[in-house]
Symmetry: C2
Amino acid sequence: MDVSDFFPIWDDLTKEEQRQLMENAREKQVSPGLLPQQKNECEGLILLQTGQLRTYIMSPDGKEVTLYRLLPGDICLFSAACMLQEIRFDILIEAEKDSTYHVIPAHQFKQMMEQSVTIANYTNGLLSTRFSEVMWLLEQIMWQSMDKRLATFLVEESQLEASTTLHLTHEKIASHLGTAREVVTRMLKYFQREGWISLNRGEILIRNFDALAHLAS
Amino acid sequence: MDVSDFFPIWDDLTKEEQRQLMENAREKQVSPGLLPQQKNECEGLILLQTGQLRTYIMSPDGKEVTLYRLLPGDICLFSAACMLQEIRFDILIEAEKDSTYHVIPAHQFKQMMEQSVTIANYTNGLLSTRFSEVMWLLEQIMWQSMDKRLATFLVEESQLEASTTLHLTHEKIASHLGTAREVVTRMLKYFQREGWISLNRGEILIRNFDALAHLAS
């Protein structure tokens, strides 16, 4: 995917803005793990070409909860959070798979945002989209029981992987949902007793996708 | 407060933009309760002059949790959420006290945002600020125990009211924190046994502010 493919506003940009975006973009390739931006705080706007990224928050004592996933074609704004001075929270970003992306340095994108009303409003839209995802999560946490959230997670994971075999430890699932491993284990065993899944070491087999999807909905 | 007092970017606006903001603003006065915007979906950008607003979300079965409060001088963006098409969640807004505000109709502010890079970036900042407040809440919900959240709420409430006597039912507190009334009652009784508060009918007296602040921190 070219830089231009990521921006639905591409045709509304001036030739000069298009040139700046293309010239400033650098290609990167990463293996699973925290993104390099964690080291220098603010790498820049990430345009994900292949692979999968996960954004999450972490408590002072190391507990995690997943905010949302980024898939090929998505733009990651929070890897450039330093350009939005009113953002007062830390989001961690990790590659869940081998990934490739374009990155546009934050200070350069910020400059463009301050000069172009099209880019500023586009950034506004990106921010609103992410805000909506976090609100969805907040509503899930507040109003949904953990069995529904776990079922939702397994359904989504199965769709992401296009497989009914999921390579996930209970610990890992707990980190996604922001709960304790014991809670996940107890519920997975309940799902197993219902015949919806089978549990193997480090592996979950989905046996009744529809039942899980029904609980999730 | 004049419309100009609300915008730190006022001096960066063109005379025409300043004129438009001032001419489009209407003054409103409301009594405690849901804002009229709930009826027509999207009243506009609210510039709060006096009083106090509360933004919150509600579950399908009527449970609530407070997102944040707006005080005089604050701008409410979500009363104009319809102008941000990527926003896919509903935030309810109510006046907690008799309040007066200027309101700039959403379609007019949207038009200005689409033409002025200064206004677009300012809106970006507003959105980032509210996003940060929701992330703070999410972190509180995920990582803080309910006793800390209740102590934090009582401390904030006491500061907002500039009083150690709070007129709040247990039901009301539960709606702020997104929990059940029974949970609030149990913890308030615990705080009372510790000598930090006294409980009267519909009233909480704070007896040891420092102890609550210490638990909250």
